[in-house]
């Protein structure tokens, strides 16, 4: 069983970036650096979490995030178990509380959870002694995604402080946007959002974020363009008339990027709707750091798992004297 209070004072769980401080977030990014190197080795494995059991509890389908977590877990030599469950607990017939109790009874060390309801990760974290890592809960937060985004921005610019980052797309339904807003603001970036007004949530300005009306403004203003995926369901909800309309007005194209400064970079959390929110030549072009995001994703997740799985920094200092 794992002890709370990892070296950065993260506590037992990673539920979101909103509760974290700047030092903690930067500390996680620093911890991720050496893990990048491990993924470059021939034998991409270190024994540090050997014997720990990690459950990937995914109530929403997700291939990319789950695989990224699985790579991270296996490269740390942990044993992984994947549990997929679709539908709400009401449909399934087993409540989230019961799921939590079953996991506790199985003495699982860590749970990585993705769920369709905002607050579900925190709900689980409050009820089981295992470490809980939020892999996306409803529209609330997706902290490891934002951390890998921050790392990617830092890799390119050297620091996040003072950078102008604009998130473009469906902000209303995006947990990735929310986590990024918290992380970027705490690390000193200037943050803006841009998208159809129907998809900009109420009170977003109160979070410290400016709202840009047109994507051209965002391109001229920013150092970083973070492009969100537009989901088909938004058409059904009447937020946008069609994918074509969205692309016409907000699509990130090479044409529009001519307005950009030379060092503007483009991020995307994936999977991409090529030709909708982002054109192929942009996704595959020089400004795109989408593939480095994926690489950083495994390193960041390894760092988070490592930091949460152990946690008594005072012991570490005294132990150094004896382990030589």
């Amino acid at each position: 069983m794992s002890d709370p209070g990892a070296g950065l004072g993260l506590g037992k769980d990673l539920v979101g970036l909103e509760p974290l401080g700047r030092e903690q977030i930067l500390g996680i990014l620093d911890t991720a650096e050496p893990f990048k190197e491990i993924s470059e080795r021939q034998i991409k494995k270190v024994p540090v979490l050997r014997g720990q059991t990690i459950v990937n509890l995914f109530f929403e389908p997700s291939t990319r995030t789950r695989i990224s977590f699985e790579f991270a877990e296996k490269r740390l030599s942990a044993d992984t178990v994947n549990i997929s469950s679709s539908g709400s607990s009401v449909e399934k017939g087993e409540t989230l509380v019961d799921t939590a109790r079953n996991l506790e009874a199985m003495r699982i060390n860590m749970v990585v959870v993705r769920h369709g309801s905002s607050g579900a990760a925190g709900f689980l974290a409050d009820r089981i002694p295992s470490n809980v890592i939020n892999a996306g809960d409803g529209q609330h937060e997706h902290p490891t995604q934002a951390l890998l985004d921050l790392l990617t921005i830092r890799d390119r610019f050297g620091s996040i402080e003072g950078r102008r980052v604009c998130i473009v797309g469906d902000i209303l339904h995006s947990r990735v946007a929310r986590s990024n807003i918290w992380g970027l603001l705490k690390c000193g970036a200037e943050v803006a959002v841009c998208g159809p007004r129907t998809l900009i949530p109420a009170g977003i300005g109160d979070l410290g974020v400016r709202v840009l009306r047109r994507v051209e403004e965002a391109i001229e203003w920013g150092d970083v363009l973070y492009v969100l995926r537009l989901q088909l369901e938004r058409m059904k909800g009447g937020y946008v008339a069609s994918l074509r309309e969205y692309n016409r007005v907000f699509g990130v194209s090479s044409e529009r990027l001519r307005l950009a400064s030379d060092d503007l970079i483009v991020l995307h959390p994936g999977p991409m709707n090529r030709g909708v929110e982002i054109d192929s030549d942009v996704a595959d072009g020089e400004r795109s750091v989408i593939l480095p995001q994926v690489t950083n994703g495994v390193a960041v997740r390894m760092a988070v798992l490592y930091l949460l799985a152990g946690g008594q920094p005072e012991l570490a200092e005294t132990a150094k004297g004896g382990v030589a």
Binding site: L96, S117, S118, G119, G138, H140, R178, I204
Partner: protein, 433 residues
């Protein structure tokens, strides 16, 4: 034959007679006999010493969910009536969104009979009056047989938890109910605007990633209904006012003399959307807790009398149903046993409303506005009395509620004002410990 009761040494607060001074109260044959100083009752009278306590007309709550038939794990007519008495209430109006709903005379009659049966066995609490459904099945399409419901005991009609959405239907209801002199109670919500919403729309909902219900969902329907009340002359009662915009509509209605009454809940007077932070399902209700601006507007309207009365919207839910992801938890909180304590702490203690004003809002005004026999200690009236200590501090422990449910945001809170005795029709139905 009921034994006479003499309440000695208390401070009688009865706004209906403009009394706020030490007086004794004599109850004979289930009715108020006299309210004077130095009363000497008949020898066989039960003498109850209420020195240091307030004696007032029993509280009246026109918005309570008793869940029976169909939801007995949350509350029953009996447990709800007892919880009401523990809260100082002597009359409550039971909402029709039960299973089956109270949309036919048999269902309405069942509720009335059930409450009376418990009372006859000596295990009753507050009086329970059923409110009939306004539309069949609460579907919002066709009017129920309101005459039949009234005969069976219905005192009003509503589709609460749902709005009466169709303006044509609302018009017919406001017209037709005039035959019986009963109000139409409206849960004002535009479900197209509130669709999927689980809390107030705004910065807090955005940070939490929860879908919001905008103020206009309530305000637009209230504005429309006020015009319909004016057009038809029917009695519109606006339930659980939560927005400053609805307050404005009600104020204007008042100025134009439209037949509109309104209620506010203790939680909308006290809490805001910030109570939801941490995904607390005990702060999830419909209409949701709003911003501070809205809270202040509702509070000031209640103090000024623009909103005449307080009603709890007591909505019991079983622990397991609230112990869920926020999206999936049902709306509503209990309120009968905390109402007086919250209102004294929030309104009387800071000096914004005198105690007599609070008694008016919780007893006299609902009686007056809704045509309920009660809300007064005038001799000849039924002896529905609440005795309470207006200054006693106490901490809310939901485990000690008489209600079957525990879903309250006030758990662990210190409230001011505690019920000591509740008398219905001359019989003590609750004694506080």
């Amino acid at each position: 034959m009921k034994r006479p009761v003499l309440l000695v040494g208390g401070r009688v607060v009865d706004p209906s007679q403009s009394i706020d001074e030490p007086r004794d109260v004599l109850v004979l044959g289930g009715r108020i006999e006299a309210v004077e100083r130095g009363l000497a009752g008949p020898d066989e009278a039960e003498r109850i010493d209420v020195s240091g306590l307030v004696v007032a007309p029993g509280l009246i709550d026109v918005h309570v969910h008793l869940r029976e038939p169909g939801g007995e794990h949350k509350e029953t007519i009996r447990s709800g009536a007892l919880a009401a008495a523990a809260g100082g209430f002597t009359t409550v109006w039971a909402m029709p969104n039960t299973d089956p709903p109270l949309d036919d005379p048999a269902a309405v009659g069942f509720v009335r009979q059930e409450a009376r049966a418990w009372a006859r066995r000596g295990e009753g609490g507050a009086r329970v009056s059923p409110v009939g459904a306004a539309s069949r099945g609460l579907a919002g399409e066709r009017m129920t047989e309101i005459g039949g419901l009234v005969e069976a005991g219905a005192v009003a009609v509503t589709d609460d938890g749902y709005p009466i959405a169709d303006p044509a239907l609302m018009r017919r209801l406001l017209e037709y109910t005039q035959t019986f002199g009963i109000p139409v109670l409206q849960h004002a919500e535009d479900r197209a605007l509130s669709a999927g919403g689980v809390m107030n729309e705004g910065a807090v909902a955005t940070a939490l990633g929860l879908r919001g219900i905008p103020n206009v969902s309530e305000a637009a329907v209230v504005a429309r209904d006020v015009y319909l009340a004016e057009l038809t002359g029917g009695h519109l009662h606006v339930q659980h006012v939560s927005t400053r915009e609805a307050v404005e509509s009600i104020e204007r209605a008042r100025e134009r003399g439209a037949p509109v009454t309104a209620e506010a809940t203790p939680h909308h007077l006290t809490l805001t959307e910030d109570a939801v932070r941490g995904y607390r399902t005990d702060a999830k209700m419909n209409p949701p807790l709003r911003t501070e601006r809205d809270r202040i507007a509702v509070r000031e309207a209640l103090i000024a009398g623009v909103i005449e009365m307080i009603a709890t919207d007591h909505a019991p839910h079983h622990y397991e149903e609230k112990e869920r992801e926020f999206d999936d938890a049902p709306f509503g909180i209990v309120g009968l046993e905390t109402a007086l304590g919250v209102c004294i702490r929030e309104l009387v203690e800071p000096g914004d409303l005198p105690l007599s004003g609070l008694v008016d809002r919780m007893s006299c005004a609902p009686a007056r506005a809704m045509g309920i026999e009660g809300g007064s200690l005038r001799p000849g009236r039924p002896a529905d009395i609440v005795v309470f200590d207006p200054g006693e501090p106490w901490t809310v422990d939901p485990a000690r509620f008489l209600s079957r449910s525990r879903n309250t945001p006030f758990a662990g809170e210190r409230l001011t004002g505690r019920v000591r005795r509740t008398i219905v029709g001359g019989q003590t139905r609750y004694v506080g410990s």
